[in-house]
């Protein structure tokens, strides 16, 4: 029936919301990670610096009260008591100002100025990274206290791993929920869309879902369903009305025709020109006019309605039609030129398309004087052209020839109701085509082509 029910994902609101929520989740997890990491990193750095500073301050006090010998003894003691309380192994260096070591486990003075009490991250000669602080204790004595911080790095790394794991889980969960929700919503909205599209194309449509949760979307579907039901009812009423009018007019005409036929049997009218015969002809003419009027209304009402249309081979159809009309054209002293491109198909109602083209051909045959040419052309589109080299349509009539009962002054001598072109245009519209009068150097040129 219809195809392409799912809307393009890129253009779908539902999918945009799903993508946005996923992006928000990723952003939130990243920011949270960055903030936590920075905080933890800062606090571990502060703790490390404080430990080093406290240790250094203690040793400065010892030097102040006990002198150099006491300091060297205490430094050696501290080295012996391997302090692993927080995994920060200590290192010390007591040296002369020229850097010559006199105590502690280190032997090389790192690039830290004791005079400035500098502190910072340095690498020991054995490549161990430490946080160190230096101090000048006397004119020719300086002290360096350092702590390893590998444990702090490990803690931060673990923190990062936890964030990576939990963050990924959160993002996956959000993505999953977003996709499932989006898919569910998209499905429900697609259902409504499909229903509306079917209704617009004239097929039966259901918008409401019996298993819906009764939310806003269900309410939308319910109201849409009411509207469609109302519209379907109007269409049905209009059709019933047309059928009833046709029936109520045709039935008495049929009885009248029957009585005329019976009377004709009793008193035949040779030559078929008597009053009774002509009256029977009039009855048929009235019926034909009524049918045309109702057909115009019906075709206009079913504009854009695809129900009842089937794929038809327009090339073959016009070929058959040309063969049918060839005799009539020649009989009228005209020449029929055809240029029918093969393989042109369209979605249409066969009987109506035949009616459309035959009305145009009938018109040409009726108005083009003997010796003229009528041409029937078909190309992809579909684009149908019926042109002639007759008198053409007077300029002042061009605007109204497609109106019902429109007949120009020169045409009143010809039989007909002036409904042929109105019906042809209505049939074209019902098929999503337009019938128009094209510009031509001479004669009339009718074009049937897809709506722009």
């Amino acid at each position: 029936m219809t195809s392409g029910v799912t809307s393009r994902r890129g253009a779908s609101i539902v999918w945009r919301i799903a993508t946005a929520s996923l992006l928000v989740a990723i952003l939130a997890v990243t920011l949270l990670f960055a903030a936590s990491y920075a905080t933890v990193e800062r606090s571990t750095h502060e703790a490390l610096a404080a430990t080093v500073t406290t240790d250094l301050a203690g040793l400065i006090d010892i030097h102040a009260s006990g002198g150099e010998a006491e300091l060297l003894r205490r430094v050696a003691d501290r080295r012996d008591v391997v302090n692993l309380e927080d995994g920060r192994r200590p290192h010390y260096l007591v040296a002369r100002t020229n850097g010559r070591p006199i105590g502690g486990d280190l032997h090389v003075w790192p690039p830290l100025s004791a005079a400035l009490s500098a502190e910072g991250y340095v690498t020991l000669p054995d490549r161990t990274p430490v946080y160190a602080r230096a101090a000048r204790l006397g004119p020719d004595l300086q002290l360096l206290v350092a702590r390893e911080y590998a444990q702090d790095r490990a803690t931060l790394k673990r923190l990062a791993q936890i964030f990576l794991g939990v963050g990924a889980a959160i993002i996956i969960a959000v993505a999953l929920i977003a996709v499932l929700t989006a898919r569910g919503l998209a499905k429900r909205i697609d259902r409504i869309q499909e229903g509306l599209r079917n209704a617009a194309e004239g097929y039966p449509a259901a918008l409401e879902s019996p298993s819906g949760p009764g939310d806003e979307i269900d309410e939308l579907a319910r109201q849409g369903g009411r509207l469609l039901a109302r519209q379907a009812n109007l269409v049905r009423l209009q059709k019933n009305m047309s059928d009833h009018v046709a029936h109520e007019i045709r039935t008495p005409l049929m009885h009248l025709d029957g009585r005329l036929a019976a009377a004709l049997q009793e008193r035949p009218e040779p030559g078929g020109t008597g009053a009774l015969t002509r009256s029977r002809g009039d009855i048929r003419s009235i019926v034909a006019m009524l049918d045309s009027l109702l057909d115009i209304a019906s075709n206009e009402g079913r504009r854009g309605d695809l129900a009842g249309l089937a794929e038809l081979d327009l090339s073959a159809l016009l070929g058959d039609l040309a063969a049918l009309y060839e005799g009539s054209v020649e009989e009228a002293g005209l020449t029929l030129e055809t240029a029918i491109e093969p393989g042109v198909t369209m979605l249409g109602e066969r009987m109506q398309i035949v009616r459309l083209v035959s009305n145009l051909l009938d018109n040409a045959i009726k108005y083009v004087p003997a010796g003229g040419t009528v041409s029937l052309k078909l190309s992809q589109g579909p684009r149908i052209m019926v042109a002639d080299d007759g008198p053409g349509i007077p300029f002042e009539d061009r605007g109204r020839i497609f109106e019902r009962f429109a007949r120009s002054a020169g045409q009143v001598s010809q039989p007909g109701h002036g409904l042929g072109l109105a019906l042809a245009r209505a049939i074209a519209q019902r098929h999503g085509l337009v019938l128009r009068l094209a510009d031509s150097p001479r004669g009339a040129c009718f074009m049937v082509e897809p709506e722009a």
Partner: protein
């Protein structure tokens, strides 16, 4: 052809009596039912050659009758007779499973011609490679036509027309039947396109002969005669 057994479902007594008189003239038998349900029961119970069904019936409309008949496996050809004669109405009828659709008012002769044609179609008569009727001969494979042994030059479409008349020799052929079967078209032309084509064929068949080959049946169509 033997007489036909026809079922006629129509609620309008005036219309029914006209058809009854018409069918009686031809020697066929007509069973008349006045409502859709009665017609449906009758169609299922008895054997008919053709069913003529009015579309607008008081209880069960004609379209539903056909749908139910087809659903029940009854394949008797149905001609729908209706005051609804627009192409839209015809399409509805054909979609429901009707074999032919005739709009009121109609010519009595046309109704009879169509009923007979429906019966002929349903009995599926197969024609040989050469069809002979009176002095006329149609060589189907060679696509040639002869009258009294004299070759008649026909265009491809004229030959198709001639062949159709030969296959339905002696029977009345309506304009709609010709349109449907020869031109592959289902519509009711408002002009004399069909008659013009018949006229051309007739001239070729009768050129140089004294007796007519194609006869016009007023109000119904044409009939090929067993000419000399």
């Amino acid at each position: 052809m033997s007489s036909l057994n026809i079922l006629y479902v129509e609620d309008d007594p005036l219309a029914a009596s006209a058809v009854q008189a018409l069918v009686g003239q031809g020697g066929d038998r007509l069973a008349w039912e006045q409502s859709g349900r009665a017609g449906l029961q009758r169609a299922a119970a008895d054997q008919f050659d053709v069913i003529i069904l009015d579309r607008m019936l008081p209880d069960l409309d004609g379209l539903s009758v056909v749908t139910r008949l087809r659903a029940a496996g009854v394949e008797t050809p149905v001609l729908m007779l209706s005051a609804l004669g627009r192409s839209e109405n015809r399409i509805e009828g054909l979609d429901a499973g009707v074999d032919d659709y005739l709009a009121k008012p109609y010519e009595p002769q046309e109704l009879i011609a169509r009923v007979k044609a429906l019966h002929r179609r349903a009995s599926g008569k197969v024609h040989g490679a050469v069809i002979i009727y009176g002095a006329l001969e149609c060589h189907v494979k060679a696509r040639t036509a002869f009258r009294a042994g004299r070759h008649i030059a026909l265009s491809p479409r004229e030959f198709e027309l001639f062949r159709y008349f030969m296959e339905n020799a002696g029977e009345t052929v309506t304009r709609e039947m010709l349109l449907r079967d020869v031109w592959n078209m289902n519509f009711d032309p408002q002009t004399n396109v069909v008659d013009v084509n018949i006229g051309r064929l007739r001239r070729k068949l009768e050129d140089g002969f004294t007796t007519p080959a194609l006869e016009t049946i007023w109000g119904a169509g044409y009939r090929l005669t067993a000419c000399e």
